[in-house]
């Protein structure tokens, strides 16, 4: 028996979704592949195959979606055993499940008459439902923009770290301006109370980062502590931030 149109569509979508997940050229369609292969297609195909008593439209949602998710979970356990928890593994296995179910289904025989939705929606009803979806999406978008714009804290990050991978002879100083306005900073390097280096003016726009490397020569390595002090130009006498490297700690790491 020829497969029905619905079966063909399901099979076609499964193949397309699997290809979109692994073929770079199909990247624009990739976001849909996870939605289709993990949450919809395998379960719906199996529910239709079994011609279950509630395999109408609502039944496809109620049983098909959970079954898809369940099959994804069980497939994942199997892929873990095969060391194949990657895009190719997921795409191949979920697509194969869907195709097997589609192949096993002989014909699109009527089961229960689809009562979940009327066969025709009136234009006004369609318009209202679409408008509802758009309004909800708009409300969520408004919330997203509001959350992005909300910043309670305005601050400056200051750090002094051994450069990764650990190299005890070089440390990196860094400043990140997370204030609400452009800020000018001054950095002083202090070793056991003595000024041994400085950057007199570092101007950063909001969001901008500045870094500089300091080579810890012998003088620094003899110091108990090498400190970096950060000042803001609007308050030149107040140490705004402090960071330091303790020489014994560097030694311990080296050992």
């Amino acid at each position: 028996m020829r497969p029905s149109a619905v079966t063909l569509v399901i099979a076609g979508l499964a193949v397309a979704a699997a290809l979109a997940a692994i073929v770079p050229a199909l990247a624009p369609a990739r976001p849909l592949s996870g939605l289709l292969l993990v949450t919809i297609l395998p379960g719906v195909a199996i529910v239709r195959l079994l011609k279950f008593p509630t395999s109408d439209g609502l039944g496809a949602l109620a049983l098909g979606v959970p079954l898809s998710l369940a099959l994804a979970v069980l497939t994942g356990l199997a892929l873990n055993l095969l060391n194949a928890l990657d895009a190719a593994g997921w795409a191949a296995s979920l697509c194969a499940l869907t195709l097997l179910a589609c192949l096993a289904r002989r014909a699109d025989a009527r089961t229960t008459v689809d009562q979940a939705l009327p066969s025709r929606l009136r234009p006004g009803e369609i318009a209202m439902l679409l408008a509802a979806a758009a309004i909800v999406a708009g409300g969520v978008a408004v919330a997203r923009e509001g959350a992005k714009a909300h910043r309670e804290f305005a601050y400056t990050e200051f750090w002094m770290t051994p450069r990764p991978p650990v190299d005890q002879n070089i440390v990196t100083l860094g400043i990140r301006n997370a204030e609400r306005e452009p800020t000018s900073y001054r950095v002083a390097i202090v070793a056991d109370g003595a000024n041994v280096g400085r950057w007199p003016s570092v101007a950063l726009a909001p969001g901008e980062i500045w870094t500089a490397d300091i080579s810890l020569n012998a003088q620094f390595r003899r110091a108990r502590r090498v400190e970096a002090w950060l000042y803001r130009s609007q308050d030149p006498d107040l140490v705004y931030r402090k960071a330091w490297i303790a020489a014994p700690a560097a030694k311990a790491r080296r050992d």
Binding site: I40, L63, A72, V140, E152, F153, P248
Partner: protein, 647 residues
């Protein structure tokens, strides 16, 4: 005639009438009719109600922003918006004139709207405490390409990787972030869950009207809006449970279908449930066992018995096998929670002082209107249960036997499940048992919602077409749902304008996230960190650090942070845990913790009378072997690896 007889005789008629009236009221006498479904089709009022719901959801988006700006009306506005769309929807569902299609669209529209409100609450990233625990497991699956890697935040999470597997699958296939992938999985699961609930109730009662009302009442569960829709394993598990219940119930109503068919659908669902969430799997096992037992006791046919027995065996054996395979990891995790909860409940029942109702750990008191709404919701539900319980047991059906009709074993199981609801309220009145009560309540709601719906369809509204009566019941349903949301989230439904100390969602903000990301970028991943309750979530996820927890390490590192001096005990615990870095959050010094603890609730972290002093948290400044690597004015990262070798 003796005095007792003369005394009794004139009253016999009055007493009998009184008892008869009471029996009628609670459904012990009289016929139980829930009315036939009208033959009409069409969506009726559903599109207009969906549009109304959408406008209310959009207003909640604005309210979420208003909350971030500090406007006090924001949270009441959300609750008002919920009531505004839920009341007319519920009124329409209660009315007998609505068609089946209309009911389905209304129920799904309500579900989608509530999910959109949940999304507006946290539209950019995970904010709830438990979401981070499962996010770590998902990240590990994506990064390492394998399962069962340790998770210090929740050691049991990698052992029940169902939700994380589904999310990792979406993320891997689609290239979406974990957050976006989680939303895809949760949205699909949420819609499917309610659809399955509707069809299951409809199968059991043969009434789409009862099914739709029950779905609406179910939304009054305290966990429906947020907890069961957030990124935690029970959110997916309840979907598997509902679908398995539906598959079994539908097969029972269609005996002509091949018996293996329900097994082909139910078994994968139960298998996935067994590897997704331990508690829900145990609950499913209990439900199916109860249904099997009652079906057998009612003398059901051999075919039906065999099918149920197979499903029951799978529901019991699959989670047991999974649990035993991993050495029963839940005992050490669930056992103490249950013990503490039971202890507090027994204290409550003996009138010993305990948790103050409607008062959070930080002393914040729920507004009066919220308290009355919660009380009203519970009262409405209890009234609904009183009216619906015996009616549910006496509902007429093809298998009805005797006066106590007992039409369907599943209906009996769900009706008996309502007895857990009062217990859940008791647990929620304690501090240690609140979590148990919250989960027990949501599970008992499978029965509560159906019994209340039967009461509405058979008594409160019945077959009356009176719109005012339906409107009043719609308001009551809205009260139940809003009361449920308040009891779950209360005054903390939305993100507040100001950071709060150890307040879960109200403590997750961009500066803490940025600091955690800094550690991953500049210190590399996988370092052992000590941090407070919120910052360690951020470090484990955004920073990909290994954080210490009492749950995982059995040692309480908080003493090293909260103590006034860095003595031998403090150094010893840091050394034994192999701690490399501390993240100190100076904001802890500004207030008491909202959830009651700054860290894990160890000996140094209980019953705080006052916040810690800044000098205590900054004692590491004076330690010669400690480096201070990062400072943003609020959060400081100390390198304490050198302490182990310091004299």
């Amino acid at each position: 005639m003796s005095l007792p007889e003369t005394w009794a005789a004139p009253r016999a008629g009055a007493v009998a009438r009184l008892w008869g009236g009471l029996a009628q009221l609670v459904g012990l006498a009289g016929d139980v009719q829930i009315g036939a479904q009208p033959a009409r089709h069409g969506l009726g009022w559903a599109p207009a109600l969906a549009l109304l719901a959408a406008v209310c959801a959009a207003s909640c988006g604005f309210a979420a922003n208003a909350s971030r700006e500090g406007f006090a009306y924001a949270i009441p506005a959300v609750y008002a918006a919920c009531a505004l769309f839920l009341a007319p929807m519920a009124a329409r569902l209660v009315h007998p004139a609505a068609s089946r299609q209309e009911r389905i669209v209304i129920v799904l529209a309500a579900t989608a709207t509530l999910f959109a409100i949940r999304l507006a609450r946290a539209p950019l990233y995970f904010v709830d405490h438990d979401e981070f625990l499962h996010w770590v497991t998902t990240q590990d699956i994506l990064a390492r390409g394998r399962l069962f890697t340790p998770n210090p935040l929740l050691p049991v999470s990698p052992l029940y990787p169902g939700l994380e597997l589904a999310t990792a699958a979406v993320a891997t296939l689609s290239g979406l972030t974990v957050f976006a992938s989680a939303l895809v999985v949760l949205a699909a699961a949420r819609m499917a869950f309610v659809a399955a609930l509707f069809l299951a109730y409809e199968c059991i009662t043969q009434s789409p009207r009862v099914a739709s009302i029950a779905c609406m009442v179910y939304m009054g569960s305290s966990t429906f809006l947020v907890f069961d829709a957030h990124f935690s394993y029970e959110s997916l598990a309840v979907t598997f449970l509902a679908a398995a219940w539906l598959a079994e119930a539908a097969a029972a109503r269609a005996p002509a279908s091949a018996p293996w068919m329900s097994g082909a659908l139910t078994l994968p669902l139960l298998a996935a449930l067994a590897v997704t969430h331990h508690t829900t799997a145990a609950f499913a096992a209990a439900l199916f066992c109860a249904a099997t037992f009652i079906e057998h006791a009612r003398g059901a046919g051999r075919g039906a018995n065999r099918r149920l027995l197979l499903i029951c065996a799978a529901a019991v054996l699959l989670p047991l096998a999974w649990s035993k395979f991993f050495g029963d990891p839940t005992a050490g995790y669930l056992g103490p929670v249950l013990q503490d909860g039971l202890r507090e409940v027994s204290r409550l029942l003996s009138f010993a002082p305990g948790r103050k109702l409607f008062v959070a750990s930080d002393g914040e008191v729920a507004p009066l209107w919220q308290r009355w709404t919660m009380i009203g919701a519970v009262a409405a539900l209890c009234l609904g249960l009183a009216i619906g319980f015996f009616r549910a047991l006496r509902l007429r059906g093809p298998g009805s036997v005797g006066w106590l009709r007992l039409a369907d074993s599943r209906l009996i199981v769900l009706a008996l499940l309502t007895l857990a609801y009062p217990a859940s309220i008791l647990f929620r009145m304690t501090r240690a048992g609140w979590e148990i009560g919250n989960r027990l309540g949501s599970l008992s709601f499978f029965g509560v919602s159906l019994v209340v719906a039967i009461g509405v369809a058979a008594f409160w509204q019945g077959s009356s077409r009176n719109g005012w009566r339906a409107a009043a019941l719609g308001l009551a349903a809205a009260l139940v749902v809003v009361g449920g949301v308040i009891s779950g989230e209360g005054p903390r439904l939305l993100t507040p304008a100001r950071f709060k100390v150890e307040a879960d969602a109200a403590s997750v903000e961009p500066m803490g996230i940025q600091a955690a990301q800094w550690t991953g970028e500049w210190l590399g991943p996988g370092n052992t960190f000590v941090a407070d309750r919120i910052n360690r979530l951020l470090l484990a996820t955004y920073g990909r650090q290994d954080v210490t927890t009492t749950l995982n390490d059995s040692r309480d590192a908080s003493i090293a942070v909260l103590s006034q001096t860095l003595g031998r005990a403090e150094r010893s615990v840091l050394a034994q845990l192999g701690v490399q870095y501390l993240m100190i959050d100076l904001r802890l010094t500004t207030a008491l913790p909202v959830v009651g603890v700054y860290f894990d609730g160890g000996d140094a972290d209980r019953s705080h009378a006052a916040p810690p002093e800044p000098k205590d948290l900054l004692k590491f400044n004076a330690e010669p072997s400690v480096s201070r690597l990062f400072d943003n004015g609020y959060l400081i990262v100390f390198d304490v690896a050198g302490l182990a070798d310091a004299p």
